[in-house]
């Protein structure tokens, strides 16, 4: 990768740290495109503060995120510092945490006050009372809903909000427009609300994605980060996908694999048909592709480091839970392969992702299926290649989609537009399509 990119990224990180630590602003926002070193930034900031004796709290959204952060923090903090992992009573401490000497796990925040760093989920923090930390870091802040920020805002004096604006918005089981247009609309994301109430807060952007291959830079940036964009650290040729074995015969799946290997993208196009969400044929195709990658002994090279792609390094992404369940069934013999919905794949990274296109086999698109964040998550988890499986007719579906979205006054327009993003991605995939 080019050094100036690294330097540029480093410069931004330093600016962020200065901006935050200067105490000039109560809040500093950091937008991070996929794999741009969000967690690294969180850990680095935490260590920087903790090692000069500052006390801070860290907020993440899911227990898994919290445990991930705890693990990497525990490895990063200088000796003598301890990390307090605040948990709910239902929480069972995973093995990987049990091993860590400098991590205290407790239900009661009172027992963790000796820790320089206390970390917990937003939900857990909401039940901490009458304590206040001088510093806070909120991770995955775009997945957090504005009202849950309201519940914990009194716990800190100033905070660093880190997150990926391109990912899925938080949602609610309630449909109600009464708060539309209010700066503090509780249904919006924490960051969106924060910035509407505090428009002068500095917003930084991590400029470089360390995860995505060069082949993903253009399409992902134009589709999902239209006004900001980003660069990939990997340059053409930095990443390479090869196979230990040669193709068996001349099957379309092998054609797909070589397209993916050559370009980093593949669109496996099944014949047109209107199907249920759990389109057995499509699910089958997804499973076949996964298997073939493994059978062919796919090897991922990144820079000078080459490793065979194991099942753990492969993810299957879907829109609906039912689809994930069906795919898991189809891959029952490969439990190491991650099979999940976009919501749960947020923030994860793999060598290969195989995606069941949210619009595959549908007769019409709903806001859910068009949501830009969903497609963004699905098409930006990979280091090497992303293969999308879908049926003929998605483009026609998009073209025929009636745009009947209501417009609410004083509500900032959210970009990218899901429909437009889908168009962009589809046009891109079309150049990589292999007919099943």
């Amino acid at each position: 990768m080019s050094l100036d990119l690294a330097a540029q990224a480093e410069r931004v990180v330093v600016e962020i740290l200065d901006d935050f630590r200067s105490g000039r602003h109560r809040g500093v926002v950091v937008d991070s495109p996929p794999g741009a070193g969000k967690s690294t930034l969180v850990v680095r900031t935490a260590v920087a503060l903790a090692s000069v004796g500052e006390r801070l709290m860290i907020v993440a959204q899911t227990n898994e995120q919290v445990d991930d952060l705890t693990t990497s923090l525990s490895a990063a903090v200088p000796a003598g510092l301890t990390i307090g992992r605040l948990a709910s009573s239902a929480y069972v401490r995973p093995a990987r945490l049990a091993a860590l000497a400098n991590v205290l796990v407790d239900k009661d925040v009172g027992n963790l006050l000796s820790c320089e760093i206390v970390i917990a989920t937003a939900a857990r923090w909401a039940y901490v009372k009458d304590r206040c930390w001088p510093w806070a870091i909120l991770d995955e802040a775009y997945q957090m809903r504005s009202d849950s920020l309201l519940a914990i805002a009194a716990r800190f004096e100033r905070a660093l909000f880190v997150g990926d604006p391109g990912q899925l918005d938080p949602f609610s089981v309630v449909e109600n427009d009464r708060w539309r247009g209010l700066n503090w609309d509780p249904m919006q994301s924490a960051v969106a609300g924060l910035l509407r109430s505090n428009p002068d807060l500095p917003v930084h952007r991590l400029p470089v994605s360390w995860r995505l291959p060069a082949s993903a830079e253009n399409v992902v940036a134009t589709a999902f980060y239209p006004y900001t964009g980003f660069r990939t650290s990997a340059e053409p040729g930095d990443r390479e996908l090869t196979f230990g074995t040669r193709a068996f015969g001349r099957s379309s799946v092998d054609a797909l694999l070589s397209e993916a290997a050559a370009t980093g993208w593949g669109f496996y196009e099944l014949p047109a048909r209107h199907t249920l969400r759990t389109d057995a044929e499509a699910v089958c195709a997804v499973a076949d592709v996964v298997r073939r990658f493994l059978d062919r002994g796919a090897i991922a090279r990144s820079g000078n480091d080459s490793r065979p792609i194991t099942a753990q390094r492969i993810a299957v992404g879907t829109a609906h839970r039912a689809q994930a369940a069906a795919a898991r069934q189809a891959l029952f013999d490969l439990p190491e392969v991650t099979v999940d919905t976009a919501n749960r794949l947020q923030g994860r990274e793999y060598d290969l992702t195989i995606v069941l296109h949210p619009l595959s086999g549908r007769r019409d698109a709903t806001a859910f299926h068009l949501e830009a964040g969903r497609l963004c998550v699905l098409t930006s988890r990979h280091r090497q290649a992303c293969v999308v499986v879908g049926r003929v007719g998605i483009r026609e579906l998009l073209d025929a989609h009636p745009s009947s979205e209501p417009v609410h006054l004083h509500e900032p327009v959210k970009f990218p537009d899901g429909w437009a993003a889908n168009q962009t991605v589809m046009n891109h995939l079309y150049a990589h399509r292999i007919a099943a």
Binding site: D147, L150, A154, V173, A190, S197
Partner: protein
């Protein structure tokens, strides 16, 4: 739309009449609901034109505004509406019980409007009247500001899932019946009832089609039929306008308006009571009473508030108010969805179709099974195996409940699929009494028909939020407390 209700719609098309999607009535129906059929003048911001209102099908009050653009006439309308509504509210406060320290009225107002637009009309009418003053500049008749507060209260209450304080008839009906037409057309009360209870010898689709003819079935409002506006209303209003006050001409103009507008509202009025009759045929669901108690509690609380503080509701929710409201709405939504399913096998059916619940027969029971708990104590954990033909899409480890034994937790320990169905093994916990052996009847028996669902009302607690005057900087800081101003009272309504 669930798989079941969609399938029911298909059945309705074939059957030529609506198909029930509920075996119970999931809303409360007062013995004397206040039925309200409002009309508004096209093109204006919620300008009342006329209304029929009352608690008995036979003697509705009729209110009208001969010149809806005239501010005073509008407030005149609001004033007479206030008389009716406030009297009704008062009538609900006759009897009360005392729960703990506070007073709980045994009755509460229930306002029934034809459709969702009707709900909107009530909310806006509340908004346009609650800030008024009966003194100072631009005074309005007594009762108007109070009307505004109550209408706003009912409007806000109606947003709470499971509340029956104010219902839109079309929504209530389509929650219990699937018609053979789309949701768009279901918004037409006459058409929807045409499917649910068509006249003798007419099939639903015909009845619905007839219902779309504004001459036969005038729109249920608040907006009127444009042709009526242009051909009847406009000339009538002009006649009123041009006639000199108190002249016979003007009296006749008013008579004409009254006759014509009555003609526009009466059919809907009859439909509303027809719909009520149809709904009464359904037995109330188990938890309806509980939810209505919540409505009564809220009503009692607000009634007390008015007698103490009584300032009008704010224009918009502040940050804390909004978050708090969202919390309770979400809580109520999940509870309501679950409760409906537990109360009503036909509602439960849609969860069975999606595999979140299943119905089957108990094939084996290990009644007195005891195991060591994490704390090392021996505890009773019976195991039952249920065989079902339903699709089961539940993971092992999921906790389920059976409607009949809602206190008893049942955790899935094993799922065995075979050609002739699914065998689900469940470990029971709780609801079996103190003794070492489960109390009689507390564990299902072999051969029992039983339903288990992953969707059940659970104690959802939500965290405390800061007090309003401590709204944090992230949400714009503490708002300025609302102080009524002359401008609120002035706000030209013309």
């Amino acid at each position: 739309m669930s798989a079941v209700s969609s399938y029911a719609k298909a059945l309705a098309v074939a059957a030529g009449r609506a198909v029930p999607i509920a075996t119970r009535r999931h809303v409360y129906l007062s013995d004397r609901p206040l039925v309200f059929v409002p009309l508004a003048l096209a093109g204006e911001a919620n300008a009342p034109l006329a209304a029929m209102i009352g608690t008995s099908p036979h003697d509705p009050y009729m209110l009208l505004v001969p010149q809806p653009r005239n501010r005073d006439l509008r407030f005149g309308f609001a004033a007479s509406l206030a008389e009716v509504v406030l009297a009704y509210v008062r009538s609900c406060t006759a009897r009360f019980e005392v729960v703990g320290t506070d007073r709980l009225f045994l009755d509460a107002p229930q306002l029934l409007v034809p459709n969702a637009a009707g709900l909107g009309f009530v909310k806006l009418l509340g908004r346009s009247t609650r800030f008024r003053r009966t003194n100072g500049p631009y005074p309005v008749p007594a009762g108007v500001p109070l009307l505004g507060r109550w209408l706003t209260h009912l409007g806000e209450r109606s947003e709470h899932p499971g509340s029956s304080a104010m219902l839109a008839m079309t929504q209530t009906l389509s929650a219990h019946w699937a018609s053979g037409q789309s949701a768009v057309e279901d918004a037409n009360l006459a058409a929807l009832l045409g499917w649910i209870d068509p006249p003798e010898g007419v099939c639903g689709s015909e009845a619905a089609l007839a219902a779309e003819d504004p001459l036969v079935w005038p729109p249920a409002g608040p907006s009127t039929d444009p042709a009526f506006d242009n051909e009847v209303l406009a000339p009538a209003i002009r006649a009123y306008q041009s006639a000199t006050p108190d002249s016979p001409k003007r009296r006749r103009a008013v008579e004409t308006l009254e006759r014509e507008l009555r003609g526009q509202m009466e059919p809907t009025w009859r439909l509303m009571w027809h719909a009520i009759k149809v709904l009464r045929r359904l037995p109330a669901a188990e938890t309806v009473e509980t939810r209505w108690t919540a409505d009564r509690r809220d009503f009692s609380r607000y009634h007390d508030y008015l007698s103490t503080d009584g300032r009008p509701q704010a224009r918009r929710d502040g940050a804390v108010a909004a978050a708090r409201r969202l919390q309770s709405l979400e809580r109520e939504q999940t509870t309501f969805d679950a409760a409906r399913a537990l109360d009503d096998p036909l509602v439960m059916a849609s969860y069975r179709v999606t595999g979140e619940a299943f119905q089957g027969t108990v094939v084996s029971v290990d009644r007195n099974r005891r195991i060591l708990s994490e704390r090392g104590r021996r505890v009773t954990r019976p195991k039952v195996v249920v065989g079902t033909g339903d699709p089961v899409h539940l993971p092992v480890g999921e906790s389920l409940r059976a409607p009949q034994r809602i206190k008893q937790n049942a955790r899935i320990t094993e799922i065995a699929r075979s050609a002739d169905g699914v065998l689900v093994t469940l470990e029971l916990d709780g609801g079996m009494g103190r003794a070492a052996v489960p109390a009689p009847g507390s564990v299902p028996e072999v051969g029992d028909e039983i339903t288990y669902t992953s969707v059940y009302p659970d104690a959802i607690r939500s965290p405390d939020l800061p007090p309003t005057d401590q709204t944090p900087w992230t949400h714009g800081g503490p708002p300025r407390p609302y102080v009524p101003t002359d401008d609120d009272a002035r706000e030209a309504w013309e």
